[in-house]
């Protein structure tokens, strides 16, 4: 089990200060927005890469990738 400084990342002080001034809901909202952004980026990428795929197949592939293969 590694416990050296290289293993334990710490957020930048400036960013920590930014986040400290946000509400819990705002912090959660940022995190959930990351998921939405990832979903949209993946969908756009797959639509361009596989124009022959229908919407259902595209959604399945996005879901598979985002879930690390869980679905």
């Amino acid at each position: 089990m590694r416990l050296d400084a290289g293993q334990i990342e710490v957020i930048d002080d400036v960013m920590a200060e930014v986040l400290r001034h946000k509400t819990p809901a705002e912090r959660l909202g940022i995190g959930f927005s990351l998921w939405v952004s990832a979903y949209k980026m993946l969908m756009t990428h797959l639509e361009k890469t596989h124009p022959e795929w229908d919407t259902l197949r595209l959604q399945k592939e996005v879901a598979r990738r985002l879930s690390h293969g869980a679905v």
Binding site: M1, I8, V10, G31, L34
Partner: protein
Amino acid sequence: MEPYELLQDIVVTLEDLQIPYIVTGSVAAMVYGEPRLTNDIDIVAAVEEKHIPGLLAAFPPEEFYISEDMIRDAIRRKGQFNIIHPASGLKVDIIIKVDTPFNTSRFTRLKRIYPSDSFQANFAAPEDVIIKKMEYYREGSSEKHLRDITGILKVSRDEIDYGYISEWAERLGLAEIWKAVMDRIGRNK
């Protein structure tokens, strides 16, 4: 479906069924610390056999994957089961509440938080999120747990009860990890 919607769906269901619960894991870590991409919503809940029909009704098979057998097995073994939204890949991991001193403590200390304007939810307190993440790190060595811990400590800083964490770290055999984290953020100087 997006994460907020799934979080609200599960929270409303648990409260309607009067199932004691706390949101924990990376979602709770984001509330107190640093946002990050996550696909899972982790919830510790005191689910019993009598709750199964309500859970199945709340998450219909047309939209969700939820297995009655898996729920029963989780209850029997005091394990966990999933509620999966296949169309989005989003997942809720329901961990069955076990009666331990730590669980008693963290359920007592839970915080009622507005994840959004439209609903409230029970979240594990930041100290308890940290303690549990240290346990997960010891078990699996995923550095994301350490990043979540330091994120909470840096953002929620003066709101954290460091003595409480130290006490439970000793009780749960996590003192080495806790010391390393405190050294890293400069609080042991």
